[in-house]
Symmetry: C2
DNA sequence: GCACTCCTGACCAAGGAGGTCAGGAAAGTC
DNA sequence: GACTTTCCTGACCTCCTTGGTCAGGAGTGC
């Protein structure tokens, strides 16, 4: 139940691309790496994955760089996380709807389904445009407004 | 963003212990392993961790076994997951409230906080008693009642 | 032709996942 | 006191992931 460096980096780089979308020109990997303090060569692998998933496009050579394949308000954080981390909230590498529990654990399946649904409620609502503008969806506002959301357990 | 085998096993074994709480007698590891089809020796390590976290108690020898340290309605799934997997929803192994993002990723922190809060909303509400009885909290009911909660993406 | 930038695969060290194995240490029974 | 039972613990194992680095190849633009 943790967020990998890769997913974190991917979302941050994508946010930079979203912000640069107005410029109408590709952004170099180097600039993304510097803006977000991400190791360049590692970032290039991540951007390649995003490209393979159709989230990002790229051109080589002088004047080359990366850009978002779609408008920033049509790309969700969930998509990016899935592109680099794979499916969200799988249990033992299988989707929760495919698991069959026995005995007293029978209702655990519903719990894992609920876990996944609650993650989706956040990650699929937030777009890159939201992230850059800071105008996050109301669901995020509700969840972060409780003071104990900001403290460890 | 996945659930490990260890966490899944831990919750399932704990559910068995919760169901056996009425018996007033310890449950052997072997019985737990058979009931939930978990490799016995692996399960023993997990139960040991749960014991170290004060969730489970144990006695050795004939008539020995494991039992819950507290009533089943006072033990949440969140506790069990934390005991075996560590803190929930850390980013790059640091808690989201400690991360400082730069530039266009500034508001990403709020998103990760929301992710953690939404996970807690589920995992801290469900107790072992809920799990065994099948009477899950309303938040779970709401999340699992949407049909697309049960399909892959 | 040359500089620039992405693209790709190989590699690497450390650690986690998901176990197994072997033995020791309490607790109960006879 | 011996014996059985059951938990307790550490060592070990294989495979995979994480978080990178390195080296070179392949388009693109001037």
């Amino acid at each position: 139940m943790r967020v990998s460096a890769k997913a974190d980096y991917a979302v941050r780089a994508a946010a930079e691309l979203a912000a640069a979308q107005a410029e109408e020109a590709p952004v170099k990997g180097e600039r993304l790496a510097e803006a977000q303090e991400i190791p360049l060569q590692f970032l290039e692998h991540i951007l390649l994955e995003l490209k393979h998933h159709g989230i990002v496009r790229a051109r080589r050579g002088a004047k080359g760089g990366y850009w978002l394949a779609r408008p920033a308000d049509e790309v969700t954080v969930a998509e990016i996380v899935r592109a680099v981390e794979g499916p969200i909230a799988h249990v033992q590498s299988t989707p929760p709807e495919d698991i069959e529990y026995r005995g007293n654990a029978e209702h655990l399946q519903a719990v894992w389904i609920a876990v996944r649904a609650s993650l989706r409620n956040v990650l699929e609502e937030v777009t890159l445009a939201d992230l850059v503008s800071g105008e996050l969806p109301t669901v995020v506002g509700e969840l972060t407004s409780a003071p104990d959301a900001w403290v460890a357990r």
